[in-house]
């Protein structure tokens, strides 16, 4: 039952978060921007459309949208959002989430290459490269958090963090948070790593992979991408600032926790928007340097556990 509620929450909240980020970004750039609900309209519209499958593509191309959507949605069920106990926490912790997202990415890259279009191959190649370089930084940050809780189960991580007030101010936590924030930027394809607002630019990464998708398949992929963003953002906020998470189930408590979740997500969204607006997109071969910074931050986080 709770699993079902969270499933609905993940599906509904993910496009809203994308819309919020787009709107905030537009306002910061003194544009009006599309409405905050625009992603819902987009998904709805895409589901109504017909689709054109490239004649060069195989069944991998058609299976990919489903795999991307289901892996991200399943990851969304393994993460504590409202209650400290994730509905499917037993089925996997933070490692399973990272690897489920990896499974989705694997097939997305195959889907990009499946059509034979050189843009698809270009996107797949870049996506896999950046993901590979982001992985060690991500794992170091995750290790720092997991070592503190002595567990890779996210509910245990959250409970430990709740039990120790103000723990998020410890140097190790701040450094690990910074490392994971950089990884979040890279993994969700945001400026300065990738530009989510671009189409038909030679610098595109994610958009290049999904260039040949249309109609309902594109809707599933876009929805999946926004769920991935939600999952990673929730992972960040609920591992480092878990306050407001519900420890015991009660209806009123759930409402309060949901309020906290939205507030924290909005705060993180503001951070992302600030980074996106104040930075220019990096040259692709500068990205490894950014990720090396994240790796160093993660390593420093580990070393600082010796000192503090």
């Amino acid at each position: 039952m709770i699993a079902l509620l969270q499933f609905v929450l993940v599906l509904v909240l993910a496009p809203l978060l994308s819309g919020l980020i787009k709107t905030l970004k537009a306002r910061l750039q003194t544009r009006r921007g599309p409405g905050i609900l625009q992603p819902y309209y987009d998904i709805h519209k895409l589901f109504q459309k017909g689709m054109v499958l490239p004649d060069t593509a195989s069944w991998i191309f058609s299976a990919t949208p489903y795999i991307v959507f289901t892996t991200t949605a399943l990851a969304g069920l393994m993460i504590p959002m409202v209650s400290a106990d994730a509905p499917l926490g037993l089925y996997g912790g933070v490692l399973a989430i990272v690897y489920l997202l990896g499974l989705g990415r694997f097939f997305l890259a195959l889907g990009g290459l499946d059509t034979g279009s050189s843009f698809g191959g270009l996107g797949s190649s870049r996506e896999m490269t950046i993901a590979a370089l982001a992985e060690p930084a991500m794992m170091l940050a995750i290790f720092t958090v997991a070592i503190g809780a002595n567990s890779t189960a996210l509910s245990q991580v959250a409970r430990t963090a709740i039990a120790q007030n103000w723990r998020f101010l410890a140097p190790a936590q701040i450094l690990a948070f910074a490392a994971l924030f950089v990884v979040l930027i890279a993994e969700t394809g945001r400026i300065p790593v990738d530009n989510p607002a671009t189409h038909l630019e030679l610098t595109m990464i994610h958009e290049a992979m999904v260039l040949e998708y249309s109609g309902p398949y594109l809707a599933l992929i876009e929805w999946g991408a926004s769920i991935k963003q939600l999952v990673l953002m929730t992972l960040l906020i609920n591992s480092f600032w878990p306050f407001g998470l519900q420890l015991e189930w009660s209806a009123w408590g759930a409402v309060v926790s949901l309020g906290w979740l939205l507030l924290k997500l909005a705060a993180l969204a503001v951070c992302i928007v600030l980074v996106e607006t104040t930075n220019a997109k990096m040259r692709f071969f500068r990205v490894p340097e950014l990720l090396a910074v994240a790796f160093t931050l993660g390593a420093l986080a580990l070393v600082s556990t010796f000192l503090f």
Partner: protein
């Protein structure tokens, strides 16, 4: 004589392999009969051995007996203990699939190849592998070890008219013997302490040696077995030797022959040593990390499908060694529970790698069989011509990339958990090694995923890049069945992880004195736990179930919401560029270009572009592009070593005058020296 069931089955299995070798000799001039007998019998032998090792593992206790060969001083003792049986299990399972595959794979070779010879060496290799895993006497072990090396050499150089096969074979033989030399020295040092050559008397013996002796024995064993396993920098023979063999042999080499090195290490580390010194575990863990990273980085640069797979074998050996290294460290630090988890992680990955690497090599063999090339740049679009091979190869690719819910994910997850727990085991700086190793394992796994996107997509997806790929044919039935068996095992070992871990109980009990599976299982048996309460769980079966359920829900959603259902196929849009041809496709070289530039410190890439043009450089008539990476280890480690050896040999030529008198003098001097030594000693 009343013989225990595992022993009876084991002996029967050995006889079947022997019969296979004999039949191959008998049918020397009749290739069809040779093929059927020499590869049909091992299918049966594999089944019998599988039953024998399963029975021995479930029985728990070790059975020992002596083959009626050998002498009193050098008895041919065989022991079926849990560790041996586990490796025999991996071997025999792979043997079933590979032999089945060979039945159809070799059909085309009947005309122009001596299949009798191949069958003879193949069966002897299987026999010697079985004995390597089960020999319980150092002398007998080394005999089996050498027979294995020689038969493997004969199989690697089977297509000996090719220059690359001959040079790869020679390199393999040299490296292999250097390794055997180190093993011989190490065994002799142990034998001097024990007074005999029996493995039973080596048990925990190494830990009773003096500290310097312990170190020497440990390093000799690690290097000696490391050569066979392909530990960096002893790996250089592996990417040459594995691909040049026929693909069924490649699968056997990469799947199980390199695991003899792993078996040897497991035997030494967890049987001969009680608690090895702390630095030993550090060395193994560091070697594992370096091996994994170097292996995957070189794999990324390959566009020869089989060489790519061979480099991935090196990577996976690294991952296995991470588990072993962590287990050694935990043992030295006194955490038997954690050591058991790390050991289970390493052993689980050993079996997993045997299965998915066997599968991938068989898949590559099917592609080679039907397109005649190993170069990925000449393949493409094979998923349409060879749908079954493509599906099985994809399963192998997902498994080796460590993605859920397949088997590679399970063993990597266990490795992560062991490394994670390591941080709390010590206060010294050593503990930083664990998370660093974990993060580099994450890098390795992510690079492997990138590599297998390439290794699957370039050959199997998009448009065919050559006429051979355009007219490719699906593999025959026996080959499909063999790949299907291994693919099914990848799935079963992934989804059934929480049930399969029970298999390791007798092994950890033998090695460390504890049974660990009960604490590795959570949630009514369908989830895997990291060992301690609240320490993290994962359920691959649950993940698979939910993926299927959610996928079905999404499929329903699409079919309901997409009312119009106007689904049409058209030419690729490609940003509006018309006329996509195979020339426009992304190539394997292009795919890995970003990584080639990012890791250029290691690769030192060199490229050369020559353009011919008539009027303006903007309209070239022809472009010649060449790009290669520098073989760092061959050039900077082995090059100087080779020069040094040749230099020493040149100087030694002075004493090899060819005169009988000089040689007689040498013999006389040696004799005097030996006599003096004996008198003084």
């Amino acid at each position: 004589m009343n013989m225990p069931l595992p022993v009876a089955l084991f002996q029967l299995g050995l006889l079947v392999y022997l019969a296979g070798a004999a039949a191959a000799l008998l049918a020397w001039r009749r290739p069809q009969k040779a093929r059927l007998a020499a590869f049909g019998l091992p299918v049966l032998g594999g089944v019998v051995q599988l039953a024998a090792s399963a029975a021995a593992l479930s029985g728990g206790s070790a059975s020992v007996w002596t083959l009626p060969l050998g002498t009193a001083l050098f008895p041919w003792t065989v022991r079926l203990d849990p560790l041996s049986s586990y490796f025999n299990l991996a071997l025999s399972f792979l043997v079933i699939a590979i032999s089945l595959y060979s039945l159809d794979y070799l059909r085309d070779m009947e005309e122009h190849r001596n299949l009798g010879a191949m069958g003879f060496f193949y069966n002897l290799l299987l026999l010697s592998l079985t004995l390597v895993f089960t020999a319980a006497n150092a002398f007998f072990f080394l005999i089996a070890w050498e027979v294995m090396a020689l038969t493997a050499f004969c199989l690697v150089t089977f297509e000996h008219e090719k220059e690359e096969a001959r040079s790869a074979g020679v390199l393999f033989l040299i490296m292999s013997h250097a390794g055997t030399g180190m093993l011989l020295a190490a065994f002799l040092m142990l034998a001097a302490a024990a007074g005999n050559l029996d493995f039973a008397s080596f048990h925990l013996l190494a830990s009773r040696l003096s500290a310097p002796q312990q170190a020497v024995v440990f390093l000799l064993f690690f290097l000696g077995f490391g050569v066979k396993a392909g530990v960096v920098p002893l790996h250089i023979w592996l990417p040459d030797a594995h691909p040049v063999a026929p693909s069924n042999i490649s699968a056997l080499m990469s799947g199980i022959v390199i695991k003899t090195g792993i078996y040897g290490m497991a035997r030494v580390f967890f049987d001969f040593y009680g608690a090895p010194p702390l630095w030993a575990g550090t060395v193994v863990l560091a070697a594992g990390v370096v091996t994994a990273l170097v292996g995957v980085l070189y794999a990324l640069m390959e566009h020869d499908l089989k060489r790519l797979l061979a480099y991935h074998s090196i990577e996976n050996i690294g991952i296995i060694l991470m588990g072993f290294g962590a287990a050694l460290l935990f043992r030295a630090l006194g955490y038997a529970n954690l050591a058991a988890i790390a050991l289970v992680a390493g052993l689980y990955h050993t079996l997993n790698h045997a299965i998915f690497k066997g599968l991938l090599f068989l898949g590559a063999g099917s592609v080679l069989h039907s397109t005649g090339t190993r170069n990925m740049e000449h393949m493409g679009g094979l998923i349409r011509r060879m749908p079954a091979t493509a599906l099985f190869f994809l399963i192998g690719a997902v498994a080796i990339s460590g993605l859920p819910p397949l088997n590679g994910f399970v063993s990597e997850w266990l490795t992560y958990q062991a490394l994670l727990a390591g941080f709390g085991t010590t206060q010294s700086l050593t503990r930083l090694m664990f998370p660093i190793a974990g993060s580099l394992l994450a890098l390795t796994a992510a690079l492997a995923a990138a590599c297998f996107v390439k290794a699957f997509a370039i050959p199997f997806l998009a448009l065919p890049r050559s006429d051979a790929a355009r007219s490719a044919k699906e593999a025959p039935l026996a080959m499909q069945a063999a790949m299907g068996i291994l693919a099914a095992a990848c799935i079963a070992l992934g989804l059934g992880a929480s049930w399969f871990v029970k298999v390791f109980d007798p092994i950890t009990e033998q090695a460390l004195g504890i049974r660990i599976s009960a604490s590795l299982v959570a949630g009514r048996g369908f989830a895997l736990s990291a060992g301690a309460p609240h320490s993290g769980t994962v359920s691959t079966a649950g993940i698979a179930l939910f993926l299927v359920a959610l996928g079905a829900a999404a499929g329903y959603l699409v079919s309901r919401l997409a009312r119009s259902q106007r689904r049409s196929t058209g030419p690729v849009w490609d940003c509006g560029l018309p006329g996509l041809t195979a020339d426009n496709e992304y190539t394997a070289t292009a795919f890995s270009k970003p990584l080639r530039l990012i890791f250029s410190v290691l690769y030192r890439p060199r490229r050369e572009i020559q353009a011919e043009y008539e009027v303006s450089p903007y309209y070239p008539k022809a472009i010649h592009f060449e790009s290669e990476i520098e073989p760092t280890f061959e050039k900077h480690v082995y090059g100087p070593l080779k020069d040094w050896i040749l230099g020493v040999a040149r100087r030694m030529r002075a004493i090899q005058a060819g005169s009988v008198h000089a040689y007689l003098a040498y013999i006389f001097v040696t004799l005097i020296l030996l006599l003096l030594f004996e008198v003084r000693g």
